[in-house]
Each structure stands twice: as structure tokens, then as C-alpha cells.
Symmetry: C2
Subunit: 317 residues, 2 copies
Amino acid sequence: MDEFDLMARYLMPLAANDAARGLADDAAVFDIPEGFQGVVSTDALVSGVHFPCDATGDVVARRALGSALSDLAAMGATPTGCLLTWGIGPDWEDTFFTRFADAFKADLSTYKVDLWGGDTVRAATPFISVCVQGIGRKSDLLSRSGAQAGDAVYVSGTIGDGFLGLQSFGTATGGDGVSAYEAPVPQLALGQALAGVASACIDVSDGLAADLDHICRASQIAMEVEAMAVPLSAAGAAYAQDRGQLGTLLTGGDDYQLAFTVNAENEHKLKDIGRIANVALTRIGAVSQSPEKHYAARFMDANGAEIGFENRGYTHL
Amino acid sequence: MDEFDLMARYLMPLAANDAARGLADDAAVFDIPEGFQGVVSTDALVSGVHFPCDATGDVVARRALGSALSDLAAMGATPTGCLLTWGIGPDWEDTFFTRFADAFKADLSTYKVDLWGGDTVRAATPFISVCVQGIGRKSDLLSRSGAQAGDAVYVSGTIGDGFLGLQSFGTATGGDGVSAYEAPVPQLALGQALAGVASACIDVSDGLAADLDHICRASQIAMEVEAMAVPLSAAGAAYAQDRGQLGTLLTGGDDYQLAFTVNAENEHKLKDIGRIANVALTRIGAVSQSPEKHYAARFMDANGAEIGFENRGYTHL
């Protein structure tokens, strides 16, 4: 099967939209409505690093698209299209492509994203890269850099399920944790509702501690987080209690929830926002100034003592 | 060195623009002027496939950005920004990154493109992916699908130098051919001048024969090309004469010239366009109908006999 057979068989059926131009041109062409800006992000997933070497096509598809869309969610953007690059490994057979294409198509439909184009190459180590495009109103788009002293720190959903999902991946133990790793759900509706409301926002992909640190550095502030206030799933609570390893959940990553800051004036809006986005929003701490320029999140235990972590989150290199 | 050190050292200096947001956000944010559309394309290059495993960073950078921008040139678009994904191999050291960043920076400046963001991952087999963004006027953007019977077929510059450059890569033989492979020059000025003038356009990346076939299929037409009319460099002419292998040059790829069709009404505009874009434009054939639906380019020798090729061009898989 050559590149064009592969495209015709698996990708063309996903690309029935104007921007894609039938995947027959050198580039995709898109419009941005007046008053809106374009938002673009790209995420690469490498076999054996970001997904298990024996992961099935549907898992790879959902992780690739979900993690990429999660970056748009963190900006408060509405996704419009994506480019999909397949770095095709020697072991990828029909079954892999079929499961990939079916899952990718289903998620494109769920999240109302069009496939606009991409690239297909041969690679000894397989990889997937998804570039997602979206739009947002200029004044409303979120960033990591707007947090101010006095703002409250919130997180959506539960934290640590991505880590638990990775631990139990392939063991068919199921439970709350599996889906956050295998099929990340980008918090797009939440991000869009937070646009113009939150002062800073990030998606929890590296690990809660590391990702809050990103906000701290970009905003040049510090945070104090009550570790016991961080919401856990039933599986997460059991894991933390049985092993005394709450820290592992707070630094494990792959949760794809949103962590954000909000000022006192806007905090009352969160009740409606959580209801509309159908996700729990939990206050876990507060933003403070850092005259000593130590821009990081401090996690406190029930006694008010700071918790130390071996690693703050996933390190990419 | 972790991801953030790498970014701070090599990438931040290239990303001093508003859209990049200091590489501190989850996504880049950009504007498109009224009356324009966005144009986006992505190109992945894998070590050992699209560049030699021992290629230096500057060669990899120029090939990655040049080939990606060439796709925008084929659309008649003006590039605005790009996302750079590094799939970092075990052998990539400081020297590689330094040479990559220096060459990438120089080309960004030459082509007036901003670095907006990207991703950095670890990969056993190194790869580079560049997603380029641009803009173009809605009515003027080029495609592969507008060629009509009676149009003339043109090509810019000379053909076959990419193949010769690959052949001589690393042998320091120099000559005309080296640069088309090592440092592809995207024909952006030409593509922009052809916007609204050419009826169909493509960049010659897979090989002239294969790329003309792409126009034929997208436009549902056929072409007759006079092989002897295809412009060759001095090195190309010598290669074709010495070895009797003109076909290798016509199917070799990596030329990054533009091949396009133009109707009789617009053909007279090409003289000025070639002068403004500072590149030779050569008529090599004509578009015809294909009632039998054989949508391909036929290459004729000096006696009017069709030339057969073993392969029409580079096959990606």
C-alpha cells in the first residue's frame, strides 16, 4: 500500500470539508471570522515514550487528538481543524490503521473538528503528530501569564487518574483511572466558558505540580496549594490511602483537566460554569506574591507543612 | 539539559514575536487580515529517510523549513509563522542544535516567517516536523485542480538538481546541484506572483513526472510534456548526456521549483512575473483532455515517442 492508497482508504473519508480540499492540494485553506483570532498548537507522540509500543490504533488516535485539543481547551479556544502526521512504523498493519481511523473519526465528530491535511512518512520508531487549529475572541483568550496575588487556584475534575490509567494500562483492571490515560477528554467546554473569566489557565498534562509551576513562572507569582483539597477519584483516594503516595498523583500527569486561577470578582461565576461544562471545579489554593522570585507552587499537607516531591512532573527529555 | 533549557537556549531567541507568547502558553495566537484566508501545511522529515543520518543541523533545518515553505509557495500564499517539532535523537548534541538553530534563524529572517511554537520530544529515530502557516487572498490562492485543456505547462528554474544534490551529498563535489537538496529555496515570490494568474500549481518535491501527475488527477486532465524542453542546469545537462539518464532527473524530486499551468489569456504575464521573482520560467508542454480518464503527464522524446519511467517519482511508503 503506498501513501495515496493509505490516504484514500483511511484519511479521505475523514476529510470531507472545504478546508481540506480533498487532501489534493499542498496546503489547507481556512477562514477566521471577524473579531476572532487563530489559535494553533502541535503535539507529537512517540511510540514507547508517549504510548506503549503495543498500543492499539484507537488508543493512539484518542491520545494524540485528545492531548492536542487539551492545549486549545487551556486557551479557551474553539477547535476548527487539524493536521495529522503519521510516522508509520514497520509493525503498523491494516488493523492498526482501521482502529486508528475509526477512533479518530469518532473524536473529530465529538469535538466538531475537521481533518484538514497532514503528512505521511515512514519511520523506524513510529510517531504521531497532531497540529490543532482553533479560534477565539481576541479579548477572551486565556494564557498562563495573568495570575495575580489574591486569585484563587482551581482545578477541574479529579487529579491522578492519568497516572493510574498508565499504571493499569493493558491489565484490564478498569476503574475510574483508565480513561484519562487511554482516552483523554479535553475540557473544551470548560475552557471556552472560562475565557474572559479565568486570569490564567493550563491543562494538566505534565503533572499538577509542574503545570501549576508553569503558571507561576509565566505570571511571576507563587501559589500555596492545600494538597488535601486536590480532588481525587475513588481509585485515586484508595491509591493515596493504601500507599501513602498522594505525591505520585499530584505529579503524574496525563490528566487533561484544567488548572486555573480566578480573581475574587469572577469567582462567583464558577458555579454556573461548572454546571454548564458538566465538570466539578474545586478550589485548591491561592496565588501569592513572591518577592524572592521563587515562582513555584508549594503543596501543604494537613499540618501546614510543605510536601516535597522527587519530581514535579513529567520531564520531556 | 531538559526541555526547558533546550527551549531557552535555542528556541526562545527565535520566537520574539507576539503570536509565540514567549513560548510560555499552550498554543500560539495569530491574526488574519480581513479579506485573507489562512493557509496551513505540515511536513515531517525522518532521519535516514528524508535526510542522511549524519546530516548536520544546518542541513536538517534548511531542508525542513524549505520543503514546508515550498508547499505554501505552491499555493501562492505568504508565510507568516511556523511550529517546529523536534524529535530528538540520542546522538543530537550541542553542535547539532547550535547549527540547526543558527540556520533556522537565518532562514526565518530570509523568508520573513516567525517561530510561533512547537513541541520537543525524545525519539529513538530522530525526526523534524515543521507546520507552516500563511495567508492569501481568497480569490487568488492556487490549487492543483484548475488546469484546463489548452493551458500551457511551465516549470521554474531547473529540474534534477535536487537529485544530483542528494547523489553528491557529503562528497564535497559542489556544483550547481548541491544546494537544491541541501538548502532548498522555496519559490515564494514566484508563487505569490502566480496567485490569480496560474490555473494550477504544485511544487516539484516528489519528482517532476509524479508532481505533474498530481495536477492531472486533481484537474482531471492529461498533459503532453516535451522532455527535451525541460530546463536543466549545466550539471544536469552533463549528467543526462554522459549517462543517458534524463529520466532520473525528471523523476528525482527535491527540486522545490514550481510546476504550473496557465491559460492563453494569462501567458503573456509570465515574462514580468519571472523577472520580478528572478527565476526562469520555461514552457515544457500543454494540457489536454483525457476522455479515457487517464489523468497523467506523458513525456515525449525528440522523436515524439513517449518515454517510460521505472518510477514516476519518490514514493513515501
